[in-house]
């Protein structure tokens, strides 16, 4: 294997994996903590992407600066949605009923968001060019926009990880993930933390969308594949495990990129599901699950 090929695979894998990690982190916050399987997760990514697209094309806002708008706006939307929809479903339900009800609710949300985007932006492909220039290093060449997107995604993921480890709120979230009842006995307000986490999860999805809009064309239907990938990463890394999602995303990115370079583009999905199956067989709770 030539050194250039190794560089291609490692850098390419980290680029893909960085994006996977961020979108999976958001889903893990919702699913790992609240058992809300938000299948509309990718739809928030799509909304974030369109918001960035509109801000950039209509007013010339730098796509990276739009993160400062899509992030807080989607966080707010997440808080409102949680208060209006999910809090009611979540209140006083047994865990099993909760998962299926939240699934139904999320499916509804998926259709509402897709059709809203269809009305606002139509089904025509939309896209723009940003930093579409080659960067030469280590004997290979990479698109600047992908490197920037992955770097931002990884930075946001790491910042969130540090926040969970260091801050008081972060500790409360981890406590709830580990033992919801014990955490409540210690005085942590479950529904408030749930709301915040839902908002943060949605914001992560939307921010990923903003980054993705720099790379791919948009249609109202780009969200679902990301939800599926995020779910794979969450399962790979372990439910409710933030470091697991981060590493899981990077591993999946590396496996996919390696399979494309060493074999063919067509086996990318096969390779990623093979790795998932393998890990589930060897360690059913995920790489870092307990």
């Amino acid at each position: 294997m030539s050194p250039t090929l190794v560089v291609d695979i490692v850098v390419g894998g980290l680029i893909t994996g960085g994006i996977y990690a961020l979108v999976a982190l958001g889903l893990n916050l919702q699913y790992g903590l609240m058992r809300v399987l938000n299948v509309a997760h990718g739809e928030f990514l799509m909304m974030g992407a369109y918001l960035t697209y509109s801000l950039h094309t209509a007013w010339g806002v730098n796509p990276l600066l739009t993160l400062l708008i899509t992030g807080p706006a989607s966080f707010g939307a997440g808080l409102v949605l949680h208060r209006l929809l999910y809090a009611r479903v979540l209140a006083g339900e047994a865990a099993e009923a909760l998962e299926s009800r939240s699934l139904l609710l999320s499916f509804g949300l998926l259709f509402v968001l897709q059709n809203a985007a269809l009305l606002l932006w139509s089904a025509d492909l939309k896209g723009y060019s940003y930093l579409a220039v080659p960067l030469h290093f280590l004997g290979s060449v990479f698109p600047a926009n992908r490197l920037v997107a992955a770097a931002v995604a990884l930075a946001v993921s790491l910042a969130f990880y540090v926040f969970l480890q260091q801050s008081f709120l972060g500790k409360a979230i981890r406590a709830l993930m580990q033992d919801p009842e014990g955490a409540q006995l210690a005085g942590i307000n479950l529904s408030r933390v749930h709301g915040l986490c839902f908002g943060i999860g949605i914001a992560m999805s939307a921010v990923t969308g903003s980054l993705i809009s720099m790379l791919f064309e948009l249609t109202p239907f780009i969200g679902l594949p990301y939800t599926v990938t995020a779910l794979v990463v969450v399962i790979l890394g372990g439910l409710g495990n933030v470091a697991g999602s981060l590493l899981g995303g990077l591993i999946l990115g590396l496996v996919e990129t390696a399979s494309v370079y060493l074999a063919a583009s067509d086996i990318r999905l096969i390779a990623s599901y093979a790795v998932l199956s393998l890990i589930l067989i060897l360690k059913p709770s995920g790489l870092f699950g307990r």
């Binding site: 089904a123 791919f216 064309e217």
Partner: protein, 402 residues
């Protein structure tokens, strides 16, 4: 509050009287010609459906109704009424709806859905109930194997398209402008068929294909493929693409610093969106079939009417054929009425003059339109091959990416 019996009777009687009057009035007007179809407003097919077919259906309906309706032989003009739903890009939804159109709604005519796979799915139903179906977006060598006498394909098929690709590449090679060709194709029925046709056509033309790579539908990164071609010194890129991967490949070529002298791709290149997305896309080649400069009667008028109604240009390949399919139906109905076997007879035996040029069917395939190659030059998708139909001359090597 309850309504008194007398009041109730009065209201009902009044309503019934009004109903009779209104009904009488409706009968006085011409009964609409009911035409059924599905198009994808949501799901992966919605992009193509919304560019190539939907706008032409509504444009044609508006134009016909502005004249008082569709001229039906022996009945005068009757307004066109569409009965349609969003098939959500699901084959089974489309199949069910066409079944319903034939048996329940008993529509007068049918129009096809968008895309090869969708046309394959509903063509047997149209055939079963004897509805002529003129498909402007069905591209497959297998269409003639289906043996569905009521199905017609207007677009050039893979063998013709790849014949044109091979034709222009052979000439460019003879001129010493290219030597190494590489092909990337989308790994589904469409891409596989185009690739098979390409292999034959390029081999016959004596061209050297140095690499062939496939990639899956919905691919997110084509840079490994492009880097490989670049490293192999490829100077003619041939992409057998759908629109999203076409756009991905184009943007990534620039991002990996690769600008081969010939960049030739399949579906998507002829969309005005593509031109606008890549700042003119100067020098990019693709499958062509039409532009407003072609000599066909009504081509320019069609272009202007499309822009006026939809505030967007028709694409430079299949849009005009979608409109042409409606012109063909319109002429048949005017000459033989709504008797569908008679319409079929006329479609089988007539050469039609349309905005997309002459169209004549032999065993359901349009034999009048040859495969064509176009190239974006200063905002227009000039037809550069075959020479007999050319509206411009090829510019090779293409300029640097904008």
């Amino acid at each position: 509050m309850s309504m008194k019996r007398r009041e109730f009777l009065k209201t009902t009687a009044g309503g019934a009287a009004a109903f009779t009057v209104l009904r009488g009035k409706a009968w006085g007007q011409a009964k609409p010609v009911r035409i059924g179809y599905t198009l994808s407003a949501t799901g992966p097919y919605s992009v193509g459906a919304g560019i190539t077919q939907g706008p032409n259906y509504t444009l044609w309906q508006e134009q016909a109704n502005a004249k008082g309706g569709l001229l039906v032989k022996g009945e005068g003009r009757r307004p066109i009424e569409f009965i349609s739903i969003d098939d959500r890009s699901e084959h089974e939804t489309a199949v069910r709806f066409y079944e319903k159109l034939a048996t329940d709604d008993r529509v007068d005519l049918m129009l096809p859905p968008w895309g090869t796979a969708m046309n394959f799915a509903v063509a047997p139903i149209a055939n079963k109930y004897g509805y002529p179906l003129l498909g402007p977006t069905a591209v497959s060598n297998k269409i003639k194997d289906l043996q569905l006498p009521y199905f017609y394909a207007l677009l050039q098929q893979p063998d013709q398209i790849m014949g044109a690709f091979a034709g222009i590449l052979k000439e460019l090679k003879a001129q010493g402008k290219i030597s190494k060709i590489a092909i990337a194709y989308v790994n589904d029925l469409f891409g596989i068929e185009l690739n098979a046709s390409a292999a034959t056509a390029l081999k016959e033309a004596g061209l050297d294909v140095v690499d062939v790579k496939s990639y899956p539908l919905g691919v997110k990164d084509l840079s490994p493929v492009l880097k490989g071609f670049k490293a192999a010194g490829v100077d003619a890129f041939v992409g057998l693409t759908y629109p999203p991967d076409n756009i991905l490949a184009t943007s990534q070529a620039k991002e990996v610093d690769w600008n081969p002298p010939v960049w030739l791709a399949a579906v998507g290149t002829a969309f005005p969106f593509y031109r606008d997305r890549f700042k003119g896309a100067e020098g990019v080649m693709g499958i062509a079939g039409w532009n407003p400069k072609v000599k066909s009667a009504g081509a320019k008028e069609y272009f202007d009417a499309h822009v006026k109604k939809h505030q967007k240009e028709p694409d430079r390949w299949a849009s005009a054929f979608a409109y042409a399919s409606l012109q063909i139906l319109e002429r048949c109905v005017a000459e033989v009425g709504l008797d569908r076997p008679k319409i079929k007879g006329m479609v089988d035996s007539t050469e039609f003059q349309t905005v997309a040029g002459p169209i004549r069917f032999v065993k359901g395939s349009n034999v009048s339109t040859p495969g064509m190659v176009g190239q974006w030059q200063k905002g227009e998708f000039e037809i550069v091959w075959p020479k007999s139909l050319a509206t411009g001359t090829p510019v090779v090597p293409k300029p640097a990416w904008a």
